[in-house]
């Protein structure tokens, strides 16, 4: 065999192998694409379109839009120094009875303009930040909103100390309105901010009931703010937004474009071409992700008490597809617990406010929670941990209302799961 013949034979073999590899690549790519389409169709049949033009809250005319007031108040917030912020966090997380120390009073006064504007939140019932959460770089001022919720908390405690329960009720309403301002935002962090922003006013509400008697008008105002925050549940809209965002991120990656999204810490110029090259693997990972996300959304929207979520172990390093899909779903099941804790807190607060309103009208608390509906509540809210109403018991002139929290719930966190009112 001559040298030329050997070279030609080598070329033919290499080209044949390349052809086989290309056929395999295309086949895997098509198969992956079909699997994605199948999983997506199943999800869309249950949770609506995943291919909307934009991932944002429905638009609201500017004069009616609370989000604009929130953004304006957030712009006025003094974020404070690191020391001030850590002092506030420490103060808020202390469950003991307390008075606002002078240093924090000064800090609160530096936020007087923002607090004054926050009192107007209640004047607007609709809210939309008008942000497309699929793109990066344009987000509502979450950090400043969190700072504002802390400033409102300090203002509430100061009003309780000064024996001005109606003013305290007004600040609690402002804090709850700040929280519910993000209730329609289809974004995970928006909903976590909503939960975090509701914690301080709910804690302050518990303290208000322990230390003073708000009037009927103040209670009605709080009741409206609580009811507003009930729907949609934060984790339902937050998880759905997260799944839609991940689906969008996968689609962008598969197309070989990566400049539109913040994918990872990988150097962006290489992400696009590499993702396009490994598209069949990405598609398999996306199909697996959509399957797991669907089960997670079913768990979130399903009956309570919820089913147990299997705690699967970390996939081995060579299980590339499992690792890729897990990178998007890891820990999301634990967020469902956080959402249920929030719903339980909200249910307890709504019931306690309704019980106080009942007492103002009837001079005594009812013997049973059923007496509150439909006069004070449209229905008796459930504790998601048990699937039934929180446990209510008369206790002398007062009552005890118990809810159950998840294992991860900090035992010292306020508001506590047990509301005990003695009068």
């Amino acid at each position: 065999m001559t040298l030329g013949t050997r070279r030609r034979r080598g070329r033919v073999v290499v080209l044949s192998l390349l052809l086989v590899a290309l056929v395999g690549y295309t086949g895997c790519d098509l198969w992956g694409g079909r699997r994605v389409a199948k999983e997506l169709a199943a999800l869309e049949s249950r949770y609506g379109s995943f291919t909307d033009a934009a991932l944002s809250a429905p638009g609201v005319p500017a004069p009616e839009n609370r989000a604009r007031l929130i953004a304006a108040a957030a712009a006025l917030v003094n974020p404070g120094t690191n020391q001030e912020r850590s002092a506030i966090s420490k103060f808020i997380s202390d469950p003991a009875p307390k008075t606002v120390p002078p240093a924090l009073r000064t800090y609160m006064e530096s936020n007087a303009d923002a607090i004054r504007l926050a009192r107007q939140f209640v004047s607007r019932t609709r809210s939309s930040f008008g942000v497309d959460y699929r793109s990066s770089g344009d987000r509502p001022p979450w950090f400043d909103m969190r700072v504002l919720s802390h400033a409102l908390y300090l203002a509430t405690l100061q009003s309780i100390e000064a024996r001005r329960p109606d003013e305290a009720a007004e600040f609690i309403t402002a804090g709850l309105s700040l929280s519910s301002g993000g209730r329609n935002e289809p974004d995970l962090i928006a909903q976590l901010i909503r939960i975090a922003a509701a914690d301080p006013p709910l804690d302050a509400l518990q303290r208000l009931f322990e230390e003073s008697d708000p009037t009927k008008a103040g209670l009605e105002q709080i009741a409206r703010a609580l009811a507003e925050n009930r729907e949609p549940l934060p984790l339902t809209i937050g998880l759905l937004g997260e799944v839609k965002h991940a689906h969008y991120a996968f689609a962008i990656l598969e197309s070989g474009r990566s400049s539109d999204i913040t994918v990872s810490s990988l150097p962006l110029p290489f992400v696009g071409p590499a993702a396009r090259l490994f598209r069949p693997i990405l598609r398999w990972a996306q199909a697996r992700y959509l399957d797991e996300a669907g089960r997670l959304l079913d768990l979130q929207t399903g009956p309570r008490p919820r089913a147990t979520w299997p705690d699967t172990s970390t996939p081995p390093p060579w299980a590339l597809i499992d690792r890729m899909s897990r990178a998007f779903t890891d820990g999301l099941a634990r967020l469902v617990e956080t959402g249920d804790d929030f719903a339980g807190q909200l249910a307890a607060a709504e019931l306690v406010v309704a019980l106080r309103r009942y007492k103002l009208d009837h001079a005594a608390y009812p013997e049973d929670l059923a007496a509150l509906a439909p006069g004070y509540l449209p229905g008796i809210p459930i504790d998601p941990a048990t699937g039934s109403a929180p446990v209510y018991a008369r206790d002398g002139n007062g009552f005890t209302l118990r809810t159950v929290r998840s294992a991860r719930y900090t035992p010292t966190k306020r508001p506590t799961p047990v509301w005990r009112l003695t009068k």
Binding site: P61, A62, P63, N65, R68, L69, A71, A72, A74, A75, L76, P79, N82, R85, D113, L117, G130, S136, G137, D138, R139, P140, P141, W142, F143, D144, R146, D187, L188, I189, L192, I193, I195, A196, I261, T262, S264, A327, D330, G331, L332, R334, L335, E337, T338, R408
Partner: protein
Amino acid sequence: MSGRDPIDRLRSSKGEWPLPSEALRARVVAMPMRTAAIGWADRAWFSRTWRLGMAAAAIGLVAADVWVASGDGPTRAIVRDDTERRTLEELVRSAGLPEDMAASVARRSLAPARASALDRDSLITGGDR
């Protein structure tokens, strides 16, 4: 046309090379000398001053960059972004997400820049955002 190599042909040629005529020699000697065209780029490139100047400028730019990074303006912005990112990250982590995913969610949720207090009225009444 002969297929022989011209070099071979020259080597095998008989006799001396003919000398140029006196007239040709005189004409060539009488032609004006033309100096080589040296442009400004050549002058700059071979100039010691230019080289030292470039080195000094490079050192100056690096120093200015370091100085600006340690100044008030940029540092404040970086610190604020970092505080914001860490706050959001902690919030997401406390809600139950693992560290790396919390970092990723927080990173994509940073606000672009703080709205000025002067923008308050347009924010409230509906100026374009």
